[in-house]
Symmetry: C2
Subunit: 492 residues, 2 copies
């Protein structure tokens, strides 16, 4: 019955791939490391994008669009940023193909059509955007600039995984310009809050807000704020980042403004982004061995209705009842699909929509009709209930809310159970290998120690939580003095 899914216990990584591919979210393509986001997966992304876009606009941002290509001379202008991304850049060197003189019907790159300056396919857009902002900013009156871009970016990853790490991915990148450091820092924190709000209240995924250690900072940033989520295998996943860029890009691109006293100063910057990677997080956080479990607030289909009938007469009776329910649900803003296709049996359909993570399934048969009931199955708990058709629409509406709340509560419980304090190296290592999750431990604050811990355990500092409690202690590795605990984890 239906498509086979590898269980988590059997092979977590294969389970994830099965869900993504068999759940019709995405698939591999003929292009190394690049995926196709299939219609069902893209509908999910559209829902996520639309909510975020509304949040960005509500906080005063506007969308714009900047070039895909970054000339090498601009790319290298902010040296740390360039250094951070250089090793994974796709580079355009030519602008024409010509017929292959040796093979009929084949093409070769035209050696005559070499670009004078190579173009980097944007891995992130700070460079191209700040070279453009230079023309937009003269005085404090031009500030702040609060701009976001929805775009594709390319980072040439050697090992790729659908959604989590692909050579090309979709994202949004906000790029703002401010007159003061304080204002830029406030923007950085505001957007972190927007991300946390979205991921927790729409994706039902609890996050820890924090600041990255210098090692894990965005290349070119003064400070990187992040939200960190926990997956079911105990590994962390960075769900979004918001960077305070200081004056680094303004200096690299010579972007100055005159203030009210007519004094010139460099502009202060932020950038912040989330990507289709969030879909990977969503899949890994909530789903089970039967397939995806999607939170109602962003599910492409919130309710699926499956008729169970023999013969046209029964079908017609069910149709009539269902049409009314569908109409009412749609009027309430519920996304509903009536699957009355006759090329699959109800049991196959049940399995298929379970696989696709549709939050609520309604089955309705001829006898149900007589009894004025339907069978409601919720995807998260798999509970089935017989429910009266009278008032079924508000029942469903409430159930969707309940599922949303339940998914978040369950994920938070899971996460909270996996934040463990330790003060000994042995336990630290043992926790990573057994329980996983976040480990709250002291660190001496040096990059060397962080590197060494990563080398020994593959764990990294996920973040220094915001409003962290100051507490004296000794570094888990070196025993050197420490003023606070930080969160370690193995991560995606």
């Amino acid at each position: 019955m239906g498509k086979e899914i590898t269980s988590r216990e059997q092979d977590y990584s294969q389970w994830y791939n099965d869900l993504v591919i068999k759940g019709s979210l995405a698939d591999y393509t003929a292009v190394r490391g690049c995926m196709v986001i299939k219609p069902y997966g893209f509908a999910l992304w559209e829902n996520m994008r639309d909510v975020l876009d509304r949040m960005f606009k509500d906080t005063g941002h506007q969308n714009a669009y900047f070039p895909l290509f970054v000339p090498k001379s601009l790319f290298e202008a902010e040296e740390k940023n360039a250094e951070g991304f250089a090793k994974e850049c796709a580079v355009v060197t030519h602008y024409r193909l010509i017929a292959d003189p040796d093979k009929k019907g084949k093409l070769i790159v035209d050696p005559e059509a070499k670009l004078e300056e190579e173009l980097v396919v944007r891995p992130t857009s700070e460079a191209i955007i700040w070279s453009t902002y230079k023309g937009w900013i003269q005085s404090y009156r031009d500030l702040p600039i609060l701009v976001n871009q929805w775009a594709n970016v390319v980072r040439w990853e050697m090992r790729t995984r659908l959604f989590l790490r692909t050579a090309e991915f979709l994202w949004q990148e906000g790029h703002t310009a401010h007159a003061t450091a304080e204002e830029a820092i406030a923007e950085t924190k505001q957007m972190l809050d927007v991300y946390a709000d979205f991921v927790e209240n729409w994706m039902a995924l609890p996050v820890i807000k924090g600041v990255k250690s210098p090692n894990e900072r965005f290349a070119g940033a003064e400070d990187t704020y992040c939200i960190e989520a926990l997956m079911q295998d105990g590994k962390a996943l960075q769900a979004g980042t918001s960077h305070f860029l200081g004056q680094n890009f303004a200096k690299a691109f010579d972007v100055k403004f005159s203030d009210k006293e007519n004094k010139l100063d460099y502009v202060w910057a932020t950038s912040w982004g989330v990507s289709t990677r969030l879909i990977g997080a969503l899949v890994m956080a909530h789903s089970d061995d039967d397939g995806l479990i999607l939170p109602p607030r962003i599910a492409p289909i919130q309710v699926v209705i499956v008729p169970i009938y023999k013969g046209e007469e029964q079908k017609a009776q069910i149709d009539e009842k269902v049409q009314a329910i569908v109409k009412n649900l749609k009027a309430m803003g519920v996304s509903v699909k009536y699957d009355d296709s006759d090329n699959a049996r109800p049991g196959w359909k049940f399995a298929e929509y379970e696989l696709k993570g549709v939050p609520v399934r309604m089955a309705i048969g001829a006898r149900d009709l007589q009894n004025n009931v339907v069978e409601i199955a919720r995807r998260d708990t798999k509970e089935k209930t017989s429910v009266s058709i009278d008032g079924i629409e508000s029942y469903i509406k409430n159930l969707l809310d309940e599922i949303q709340v339940n998914l978040f509560a369950k994920a938070r419980q899971f996460r909270d159970d996996r934040i463990t304090k330790t003060d000994t190296w042995d336990e630290f290592v043992q926790l990573l290998d057994s329980k996983g999750g976040f480990i709250s431990a002291h660190w001496d604050g040096t990059a060397e120690t962080e590197d060494k811990i990563k080398e020994l355990t593959k764990a990294t500092i996920r973040c220094i939580p915001l409003n962290n409690r100051m507490e004296e202690g000794k570094c888990i590795l070196t025993g050197n003095p420490s003023v606070q605990r930080v969160l370690f984890a193995r991560a995606y």
Copy 2:
């Protein structure tokens, strides 16, 4: 007062550039041939995109996302398509930059990181999409596939113009797969109708629907349907195309399906697209020497309200009245901006919003308040009227509708006045040089004649109108027999 705009008479091409740049729609960037779409221009594109996206979904299409890169071997699979685009392809050849050993802080392309197979940055996505569809299609049950993609594409143009012809542009491309030629042709025509509906009823731009001559066909298509619009300088602009691709791509990528009788056949295809080029058409069709004129139905700001006051007390009184009007207008779905910024005088604001093409301007002063009136100025006719505040919201709502209708009627009149029949070569040439517009003339149906006419006059066959009247005649150039007139024009 305000920014200077070159007049159409003085320099049409410069007038267009002034409108795009000073009207804050777009600007050049440091990347050759690539533009930045600025927030105001992007808000316009978002409005256009959202309407089109709704139309696509209402006709059963879903969005998806396919890779930016096309491996050369896939790109060249459909030979005609490859030949058509080869000369304008940006090609990625390397995947890494490294430190320049000769110049500190600079980067060079790493010669060790050469791709085994070059990647073409998509100029259009038939190749990558049909190589993917191969995995999606086995039987007639998998058909039709009705997918659209919103994406960026790259065509390396030697001479670029903002929106009209840029190396990178944004567009949508629909790619559908069908079991029969009839169904695919019906889809091709349906999407042409969708485009015509959108361009006429939302952009207020009349179009002629037609079919391209073989010379002007999309590379790889069996038939290209198009909508053609007329600009104020008498030149035509292709506003959208819808292609019947036959089985060309299915054959190139070996995509077969088994029908109900279990017989294998190649799949039938369509593709169709419109792009940010439409913004260029919009600018050139409606605007005047004072700036942009945007149709209300897609204008980012439909109504701007400018207060005229002396002192805080007057300002507070106006504010109170305006807040109520703004609230009511928003509730009616009207996009309204209250510009009470104190860093520009009313006259400057008037000029600025005229330049930006805001359809309706409301000015309100202290004396207006006493008289319970506001001054309403419409952008299209520049008429100003004093209007009672009572019921001002429905007055504005009606006025927006009226402006939309008026813009279309004006553009249609302009276009209809410039469709001219001729039967002599001398008049044909003279018409092109004087009146411009579409010239309805006989053509002998050969590619040679079409080429020769283009060479002599720069005019091309814009289309053979749908439902064209059959009429015997003699080719305008060769005198050879012809069965119908076609529409010639010089074009963007």
